[in-house]
């Protein structure tokens, strides 16, 4: 049988383009699928009539859409679903194996990502309850109602949610899932190496009873991505620092860029730092260190070198394993140039005095390695004796973290933007300061992994408030 072909989905309607890109096994180069690419004009044409897609969702109640989302979650996790338009199907095992082949994520990590997505879909009622702070969701159906005895009215801020997705971590798709239950169609520009998860999610939703018109799947170029963002009233965009800067201050765009997530140990807990080693190591290395919620810095008042060395002793020996090995901890790089860049960027910055790669003695070899035809970066922990060293606040797509000593009294003024901050302290004064800190997005008080996410609380913004606005209302 031929390769699967993933068509674009134009308001659910499959469209086979004359321009296709091949998605390949990152180790062997074998073609796993062809993906139709659309030009920006197609995006513009379809988005000009996106209100039709919203109408298709408005026919349902939120309650019905919550049930569809839960059913779709089960189908995503367990079902065999259509894969493209040439008669292929995809079982969960095939999804795991294929995504692993093209993205470099080991099977075990794909499975964990699947579980996260499944959890979000089957617990959407709880998530929306949290994001809307207990709103009776029939208010969305009627447009108005009461909450805690007060009149409330909500209106949608957009006819579609534009999504420029990454290739590095499938679980990020969880972020857009509430949109369907909230009756907002999605316009997805998938990551080049990861069309699988959004396509499978769309198929799961359709199989569960959602209207196909609510789903746009537009593999496209840079211009096309730009049009998705420009023409959708609300957008989630995943990208690097430059992308984040491009959309800074744009109220229509939530940017999910580097997280610079951190672990801080307070002066009151530093003597017992060894107790927290597990949570530090998992925060740095879970999911192959690819997430914006992976810790990229550990900030302590003292014992910095000892702590760095202890982390390095745990992570330094970690090597690539076969993708189907249950103990695999590292992801391969589908884009080898990215691995080359990261490896050389770290080495270049290590030339600046004040930083030391403390993993090197435990690694028995170079950071960048080839294994079974794939390219991997082994964990790297850098002890920054100079807390202002260029490597002290960096984030890379691999298990990487700096360890630095900063007096507790100065730490909050120095940390800068921090997507997730795990603060290990019981010092009430310090906790009060942490609660007031404006540069922390999610705060974990106590030894909680930075990788723990609560979907019913905001994550780089509240999806409900992003998609709906409250207005005053009176009825005579």
């Amino acid at each position: 049988m031929s390769h699967p072909h993933l068509p674009a989905l134009r308001k659910g309607r499959p469209y086979e383009s004359l321009d296709k890109v091949q998605v390949k096994d990152h180790k062997t180069g074998e073609i796993c699928a062809e993906v139709s690419q659309v030009n920006a004009g197609i995006v513009r044409k379809d988005l000009a009539k996106i209100a039709e897609a919203r109408k298709s969702l408005k026919k349902f109640t939120v309650e019905q859409l919550l049930e569809i989302t839960a059913k779709a979650g089960d189908l995503f996790l367990n079902g065999t679903l259509p894969l493209g338009d040439k008669g292929h199907t995809q079982s969960p095992q095939e999804y795991i194996a294929t995504l692993s082949r093209t993205s470099g994520l080991p099977h075990i990590m794909v499975k964990r990502n699947m579980t996260k997505i499944h959890y979000a879909m089957t617990n959407m009622r709880t998530i929306l309850n949290g994001l809307s702070r207990g709103l009776d969701l029939s208010v969305i159906d009627r447009g108005f109602g009461t909450q805690a005895g007060c009149p409330v009215a909500y209106f949608p801020t957009t006819d579609s949610l534009g999504l420029v997705m990454p290739s590095n971590s499938p679980a990020v798709n969880s972020l857009w899932l509430p949109a369907i239950a909230l009756k907002i169609p999605v316009v997805i520009k998938p990551g080049r190496e990861e069309p699988w998860t959004p396509f499978r999610l769309i198929q799961a939703f359709i199989a569960a009873g959602a209207p196909a018109e609510a789903f746009g799947f537009y593999p496209t170029d840079h211009e096309g991505s730009g049009e998705v963002v420009k023409l959708s009233g609300r957008n989630l965009v995943f990208g690097d620092v430059n992308i984040a800067k491009m959309y800074e201050g744009n109220p229509r765009v939530q940017v999910h860029g580097p997280g610079w997530s951190k672990i801080i140990i307070g002066e009151d807990k530093i003597e017992s730092w060894k107790e927290y080693l597990d949570v530090i190591v998992s925060s740095i290395s879970d999911n192959g260190g690819r997430s914006c919620i992976n810790a990229s810095a550990v900030i302590v008042p003292k014992y910095g070198k000892e702590i760095a060395t202890a982390i390095a002793e745990r992570l330094g020996p970690v090597k690539p394993l076969s993708s189907d090995d249950e103990n695999a901890k590292l992801s391969g790089f589908a884009n080898v140039k990215m691995a080359d860049y990261i490896d050389s960027a770290i080495d270049n910055d290590l030339q600046t005095p004040g930083a030391e790669d403390v993993t090197a003695p435990f690694r028995d070899g170079s950071r960048k390695v080839e294994f079974q035809g794939g390219t991997f970066l082994r964990p790297t922990i850098v002890w920054c004796s100079d807390p202002n060293h260029p490597l002290s606040n960096r984030e890379f797509l691999c298990p990487y973290a700096s360890v630095l000593e900063v007096p507790q009294s100065q730490v909050l003024e120095k940390i800068g933007y921090t997507l997730v901050c795990t603060a290990i302290t019981q010092d009430q004064k310090f906790i009060d300061e942490l609660l007031e800190c404006q540069t922390i997005d999610r705060l974990n008080l106590g030894p909680i992994s930075t990788m723990k996410i609560s979907w019913d609380q905001p994550h780089e913004g509240n999806m409900f408030e992003f998609l709906y606005k409250r207005r005053s209302i009176d009825c005579a």
Binding site: L18, D19, Q37, N39, G41, I42, A48
Partner: protein, 353 residues
């Protein structure tokens, strides 16, 4: 015409044009001086193959650095000429002198247009680069030749390329809107049935006005790259299969290469045929430009212009294309899917032109 007849016609044209430009009675200063420094090709260059083997590539600096008068054939001395320009986004543009060639090219092209798409006597609009370009006079002449008048909305491609190179995308967008708005205004207030524009402007226009309802029946485009997928998008979704589509490839130095009508087996890949024997297109191996590439392979476009007004042997265009076999009514090679040279390796600023 058979390929043999086409070759005989081309070789005959080569001899006539060589004689014309290299004879002291009729030739131009540039080629006469060139002959003194190199060789007199009269009687030596007797075929198109001889041009390939005996002339090096024409240097575009000659059109930038020299005064236009050096290109005036003695036979045209005293006749005022047009100066047509190409390039010029940075530095001096290339300039070509001309008298009547554009009329010959576009009158010939007129016979390839169907009256149902370009009704005789009904107005045209050109939305694109006017200014010092041959295209502006040529389109108006084409309309006039068909008994029609032509409205114009100018677009300055040099400005567009400059702002895009400077990453001033907002400015480029504003300028494009400015151009499109003017065209929309004319389409809404005047009876216009035919349009010449660039593909990008056509797309932008169609986003603001229903072209068919506005009266447009035929569309003649040229300018930027059109991949097969883009052509399909234009045909199916911009023109919605209701408006005649006539893509062309050309420039100030060549004239106009018309395309053959699309057939299903083309999969929206457009093939253009040079206006032989006045101009010849060859798809050459970029690393060995004496050699053509195989059919259906990519190579660099090489242009030779052979008219009494202008002789330009073996000019390497900044384009690449696929070489295609002859196809009726053309008995010579075609060039398909033209795109900027090196498009696969680097980003090329094309803007909207």
């Amino acid at each position: 015409m058979t390929p043999e007849e086409a070759k005989a016609q081309l070789d005959n044209q080569v001899r006539e044009i060589i004689n014309w430009h290299f004879s002291p009675e009729t030739g131009c200063q540039f080629w006469l001086e060139w002959a003194k420094k190199n060789f007199d090709p009269r009687g030596v260059v007797n075929s198109y193959e001889d041009i390939i083997s005996k002339f090096d590539h024409f240097q575009d600096e000659w059109l930038r650095d020299l005064q236009p008068e050096v290109w005036v054939p003695k036979a045209f001395a005293g006749k005022p000429f047009n100066i047509f320009e190409t390039g010029g986004t940075t530095g001096m543009p290339k300039q070509r002198v001309g008298w009547n060639d554009f009329r010959v090219d576009y009158e010939e092209f007129s016979h390839k247009l169907k009256d149902e798409h370009f009704p005789k006597g009904q107005s045209w609009i050109m939305v694109g680069p006017t200014g010092p370009r041959r295209l502006r006079l040529a389109v108006e002449h084409l309309a006039n030749y068909r008994g029609s008048a032509c409205y114009f909305v100018d677009l300055d491609p040099r400005f567009v390329k400059k702002v895009i190179s400077n990453k001033q995308f907002d400015v480029a967008r504003q300028y494009m809107d400015h151009v499109v708005d003017q065209a929309v205004l004319l389409l809404k207030n005047r009876k216009i049935s035919a349009i010449f524009t660039t593909p990008k402007l056509l797309e932008a226009l169609a986003e603001k006005v229903d072209l068919y309802s506005a009266g447009i029946r035929g569309c003649f485009v040229g300018g930027t790259t059109m991949t097969p997928q883009y052509v399909r998008f234009i045909v199916e979704e911009v023109l919605e299969g209701k408006i005649g589509f006539y893509p062309t490839y050309g420039n100030t130095l060549m004239g106009l290469a018309a395309s053959v009508p699309l057939e299903p087996s083309d999969h929206f890949s457009i093939t253009y045929y040079a206006p032989q024997p006045r101009a010849v297109l060859r798809i050459v191996d970029p690393k060995a430009t004496n050699n053509t590439v195989d059919y259906d392979a990519w190579g660099r476009v090489e242009l030779t212009t052979l008219t009494k007004e202008f002789f330009m042997p073996r000019f390497l265009e900044r384009d690449e294309a696929m070489r295609r076999k002859p196809r009726a009514p053309y008995a010579w090679d075609g060039v398909a899917d033209v795109r900027p040279f090196g498009a696969m390796e680097k980003t090329i600023v094309e803007g909207v032109y």
